[in-house]
């Protein structure tokens, strides 16, 4: 696991532009959001926490799905699977490396929101950062998983609108989840991003929010999707 994590981090170290974009792009987008909503007015205060969860999800999802697809296409994955490396430790290595990147990204984006952009949260800021990190980890796990079903970069890129955008529509950002048509509310109840946004909203509106349900669901999805991802790796291929 650490071997793979160290290798992925070494690859990132040789690619400072990608790392810079991972950190800078959410910062720019959140600043833009602050600007268009009347220099951090009430709408910004309402949608800010949800978008703090969503922007990193989109970025990390794309990065991980493309990276692992590259591993499949370059033949390195086939070779790794002929070596004494367990499939779970391979995926955990990726999750660990990208998880570290996600932590940096979440800390920087949260610091920007809470500091210069003046997002007011009722709950503790540490919890906000924790939820942001978990959201990014969820995106990493989902990205690793869906890359199993993509044969080309074209397909991999389209998984973003296919997997992430429906969750974006149903997560409660556009219409509160309990005001959705009944069928859609049920659908949103089983989508992980709904819980990510619920958790963010709870932190921003409650003094001492109880996030047991939301955090459990997020952690459960991260672990479950990673295990599913390991199950999709095949040592024997046609």
């Amino acid at each position: 696991m650490t071997a793979t994590a160290l290798r992925v981090l070494a690859q990132l170290r040789h690619d400072p532009r990608t790392v810079a974009m991972v950190v800078v792009v959410p910062v720019v987008l959140l600043t833009l959001l602050w600007w268009i909503y009347d220099d951090g007015g009430p709408v910004f205060q309402r949608v800010g926490p949800a978008l703090l969860a969503l922007f990193p999800v989109i970025i990390m999802f794309l990065i991980t799905s493309i990276t692992t697809l590259r591993e499949r296409r370059s033949g390195t994955l086939e070779r790794l699977l002929s070596l004494p490396l367990s499939k779970v430790s391979f995926l955990l290595g990726y999750a660990l490396a990208f998880g570290l990147v996600a932590v940096v990204q979440a800390v920087v984006a949260s610091a920007l929101m809470l500091g210069p952009l003046g997002l007011e949260t009722a709950g503790p800021w540490g919890l906000l950062v924790l939820v942001a990190v978990l959201d990014s980890l969820l995106a990493v796990a989902l990205g690793l998983f869906v890359s199993a079903f993509a044969n080309t970069e074209f397909q991999a890129v389209q998984f973003m609108p296919a997997i992430v955008l429906p969750q974006f529509l149903l997560c409660g950002l556009l219409v509160p989840r309990d005001e959705l048509p009944r069928a859609l509310e049920y659908v949103s109840n089983v989508l992980p991003l709904s819980y990510a946004v619920d958790a963010m909203n709870a932190v921003s509106t409650q003094d001492s929010p109880d996030l047991t349900l939301e955090l459990s669901v997020l952690v459960g999805f991260v672990v479950g999707v990673l295990l599913l991802g390991a199950a999709t790796l095949r040592r024997r291929t046609p």
Binding site: R7, D15, G75, S82, R236
Partner: protein, 252 residues
């Protein structure tokens, strides 16, 4: 030496609805350098993948070092170089080797027992002549250097069998010659090598030759026998002779 490294009986593989290997029998003795020759599409890569245990097979048996192909404990004992160099181009040569060495539990530097024990990163780089390039990014290497990085990763640890898929394709004659000298040295140390190629003049450097054509074994012989039985003087002509008159050779 002398033990059976690979034993294949009645192997059948279907790819894309057509037989990629059709009732293939093959025995590779330990410590030998066996050349796997044949035109493109003959089934060389599929046969190698079956030996590695990464190929879905339709029937037959493949045993490697006394185990069914693909057994978990073989992953330490069999080194594989795929046809396309499968290394990370966004890492340096050394970082690539260190990663594979960590997975295999191979050391980074040669120990006091250099030449014995598991092959280290330093020794593998030395063997393929990439010592001076160790800090170079893989994407800036030439094609020949790239395939040697891929080869070096397969040498790490303690492989008893090396399966090399066209390791010399696209290389210049000087480099090809030096790689074949390396293969001979590795075989002399007791490691079994199975090397595929479609360059027939490399055939004379092998102990045994297996000729594949259209999913079947056309001949399993030695370089000398091949030339004698076909009445030719070079491997290219011998192979052409076998391909054109193959059935008459088998049933004269």
């Amino acid at each position: 030496m002398g033990d059976v490294a690979v034993e294949i009986r009645g192997l059948r593989v279907v790819r894309g609805g057509r037989p990629a290997l059709d009732d293939v029998d093959l025995t590779v003795r330990g410590g030998t350098l066996t050349g796997l020759l044949g035109p493109s599409g003959a089934g060389k890569t599929t046969l190698m993948r079956a030996i590695l245990g990464v190929q879905v097979v339709a029937g037959g048996e493949v045993r490697v070092l006394g185990r069914p192909a693909g057994s978990p404990d073989l992953r330490h004992r069999v080194g594989y170089v795929t046809q396309a160099p499968s290394v990370y181009e966004d890492l340096t040569v050394e970082e690539n080797l260190r990663y594979f060495a960590r997975i295999l539990g191979a050391p980074h530097h040669a120990g006091a027992d250099a030449g014995q024990g598991p092959v280290s990163v330093d020794e593998a780089l030395e063997t393929v002549g990439l010592g001076p390039n160790r800090r170079q990014m893989v994407r800036t290497l030439s094609g020949g250097e790239l395939s040697r990085v891929s080869l070096a990763t397969a040498l790490l640890g303690s492989p008893e069998l090396l399966v090399l898929d066209e390791p010399t394709v696209g290389l210049d004659p000087v480099l090809r010659d030096s790689l074949w000298t390396t293969f001979r040295q590795i075989a002399a140390s007791g490691t079994t090598l199975l090397v595929s190629s479609h360059v027939m003049d490399e055939a004379v450097r092998c102990d045994r030759l297996v000729l594949l054509r259209a999913a079947r074994v056309l001949a399993d012989t030695t370089p000398d026998e091949l030339l004698r039985s076909t009445g030719t003087t070079d491997a290219d002509a011998a192979f052409l002779h076998l391909v054109r008159h193959g059935t008459e050779e088998v049933h004269p």
